[in-house]
Amino acid sequence: MLLSVVAASGLVMTRGLERLDNVAYDAMLRLSSQKASGDIVLVAIDDRSLADLGPWPWPRDTHARLLEQLGRARPRAILYDVLFLEPSPDAAGDERLSRAVGEGPVFLPLSVQAPGLNGAPVDISRPVPAIGGTAAGLGQVTVRPDDDGVLRRVPLALRFPDLCLPHLAVALTSFLKGEKAGCAAPDMPNLISYAGPAGTYPAISFSEVMNGNVPDEIVRNRIMLVGATAAGVGDYHATPMRGREDLMSGIEIQANIVDALLGRGFHQEAGKGTTLVFNLAPLLALWLGFWFITPRQGLLLAPMLAVMMIALATGLLAWGGYWMPPMAGVVTIALFTPVWSWRRLSAASSYFIGQLTRLEEEPGVFSRAGGAKRRIIPADRLEQQMELLQDAIGQVRELKNFIDVSQASLPDATLVTDTSWTILRANSRAHDLWRRYMGSEATGMMTAYLNRIRPWIVDGQEGFTRFVGEMESAVVEERECEIGLDDGRAYLLRVKSVDTRFGPVKYVIFRLADITELRSATRQRDMMLQFLTHDMRSPQVSILALLSGEGAKEVPEPYARRIGACARQTLDLAEQFVQLARAEAAEYDLQPVELGDLAIDAADQLWPQVKAAGVSIDVERDEDTLLVRGDASLLVRAITNLAGNAIKYNRRGGWVRIRVGSPDPTTLTCAVEDNGRGMQPEQIEELFKPFRRFEESAAPADDIGVGLGLVFVRTVVARHGGRIECHSTPENGTCFTLTLPRLDLSLTSLDEAV
């Protein structure tokens, strides 16, 4: 684009296409020929005149006689285009001519040589005063053909440092209009608005006039232009009008100039600025056109613009007399349309290749069996690309098919909407669901349906409300809520917005999973837990109450103690079961908690056992705040379970140590260490297996609790994203180490700052 503008501007500014513009101008001029004024009549010094009146130059007497002859018929003015620069030997003839010139308004040419001889800026040769003195006016008749020899422009005045010479025609017309002949007219070359080809103006032969064969009415009140047309005497010039008849005589050119000056005017040439705008506008139009129209239309647009430019230029010239050179624009369009088209094609092609390559690099859904099909014989490059494209389109089709099939066979009802919540896709399960509950297929706006299900949201109502609000602003990321329908079925609605890698377009996926079974299982588990927490424990509590109350007197002491121990054990087991169930199934209440504080909580809770066992317990904690995102009660219980074991299986006077630290910025550790009995390696392996001890009848019932306690610890730690390790040396001690992810301090610094 830039290049074309520069080229067009350059062509306009340097007139590089002047010749081409001239050709256009000539053609247009011929098309728009003007009407010749009937007031102008040529008197031609033609071959016939020479034959009748003798060879050139003629005596001044001959000229005088002609002027006398014309003068009798009373013309408006006579332009006598013959130079009388020096006195003739026939002084009487000169005098007669002088008189004749004085009779009617006669205008005579003068000769101008610029630059002049001997360094003078200009040499002006005037008619001899004897003759010129009586002339109504003098003027120069300089012609300046263009480079191609065609006469298009005439300088209406010649300006020199100390004088100004108007054109002869100007002298004549100024006289007729009663103005002073001068340089008032613009001295810039004016484009001659030719009335037509040579012969347009009526011409009569000099000798005809001399013979008196010309009626007076032809001359009366007309402007007579006398000049040579005979071969070897007259001057001939190429004009834009040539073609129909070869050349135009100087006198007819003068006639055109006079005609232009008198009435129809000259053609004006546009300035460079205007020309530039005129030539650049269509280029811009073409360039803009490429953005909005198809290449085929673009191909039509270019010649259309060129034709429009030429037509416009022709119109301006014909009706406005204004010459606007159009060829720079036309040529630039002609040159650059193919270049631009080629550029576009090549850009399209390389984009094509780029995209295909990217597609190729995509992690494919399908095995690339298509690659083998590729032709080995080198084909035409375009053909290769087309083949690649075909390949790619095939893959995309296959992919679409795959998506269709995948979505249709998804186990859950799945819908996809765009960000305006119009349902784009829905699988058959979604349609089934909609038919059952909404009474129609799943189409239209998702929002309408969401408002209808609102009364059945059983869990996540708050999140759902926020989600519906967010739908307005299209910022949903991920939400879920549970829907419990009146018929007892339960669904989990999960919403997730998706960005595609290729653009900002977002889709929203709605998935409705049937969780009816899951919910009933959960309900059953909850009932079982309820049973364990209360209904199973209550009788045990009553046994203990009976034993320590009135019953204490009835039951012998050793039995009472043993029955009490059994009841307590049952209570303990039930508690362990419930804790484990909760650790495994329940949702955790995750908060930022300080692991050192939790360790102290655990140690303090164990104080009665510590005192009873006669051991010591220590908590070593880091100075730092060691935060973990966790459920405080479960973590404390996990530490309590470990430390409780460490106390239980220790010797009197032994020690238990809980060390909380952070080995690296992303992890926390809590080690529970003792110097107790320790374990054999195979015992460690068995540690975390629940109910394992049931199989070995010899194991004390107490150990089942231990086993459950450790499974609880492992479960809790795993669900916090951590792990547990155990190192033990028989007779030396055991060390359990919990490793948990450390909560980034920057996330909680705000918290601490308050």
Binding site: T533, H534, S542, A545, P592, D597, D604, A632, D751, E752
Partner: protein, 227 residues
């Protein structure tokens, strides 16, 4: 003190009643909630102990009824076989003054009764409190541990005073936050935990010194004395 024990299990009710009578309390036991509700309208008790799971009306509902209509100021201890942390928090949030898991231990029960009786939460004014060599001077806001002055921030001192003047009583986070940070405090949960942790360390509120500071998950804190 005049105590009411409400438990649909007659054995449990009798056991608790006997336990309390042996500590010179005057006890009335109820196996029917309705019976208790009739009685409490005409009679003033100093404290009531409710079971949770009862056929006519759960202990929780009974507490709610008491707070609304019956006797808003009557201190209540929930005593039940339920032991899960969320149950404890639920009961305390519902308006019970304390919560105990069955089987009940005599000494602990008596201590808790003593702690919550009266139903007003004490504030340390200008007096000085000394416990297990921990001394707080209300007038000056200074604290000593075994005779050495401990530097506490104003908020830490307030928290320490709240805990030490309300021994055995569960104090809710909301209450602690409001009394220490002012009404509707814009404070993160962690902030209170961090302050309590500081107080516990600085004043050595540990079992070795005879203190047990318990976190009641989902509710708050309780400081009590241990041997």
């Amino acid at each position: 003190m005049k105590l009411a024990v409400v438990d649909d299990n007659a054995d449990d009710a009798a056991y608790v009643g006997e336990m309390l009578r042996s500590a010179d309390h005057h006890v009335e036991t109820f196996v029917s909630v309705e019976e208790f509700r009739r009685r409490v309208r005409r009679h003033t008790f100093d404290l009531a102990i409710f079971d949770w799971n009862m056929p006519e009306m759960s202990g929780l509902e009974l507490v709610a009824w008491l707070r609304e209509t019956g006797a808003p100021t009557l201190p209540v201890i929930m005593a039940t076989a339920r032991f899960q942390t969320q149950d404890i928090a639920t009961a305390l949030e519902a308006g019970a003054d304390d919560y105990m898991t069955k089987p009940l231990e005599r000494e602990l029960l008596l201590a808790r009764i003593k702690a919550v009786a009266g139903r007003t939460i004490a504030r340390l004014e200008n007096e000085t409190i000394t416990l297990n060599e921990v001394m707080l001077q209300g007038a000056s806001g200074q604290a000593w541990l075994s005779g050495d002055e401990v530097s506490l921030t104003a908020k830490e001192f307030q928290l320490a005073a709240m805990l030490l003047t309300n021994l055995g009583r569960p104090l809710s986070r909301t209450y602690l936050l409001e009394t220490t940070w002012g009404k509707s405090p814009n404070v993160f949960t962690r902030t209170l935990d961090a302050h309590i942790s500081k107080v516990r360390t600085k004043l050595d509120l540990r079992p070795q010194r005879g203190f047990a500071l318990t976190t009641i998950n989902g509710f708050g804190y309780r400081l009590e004395l241990v041997e």
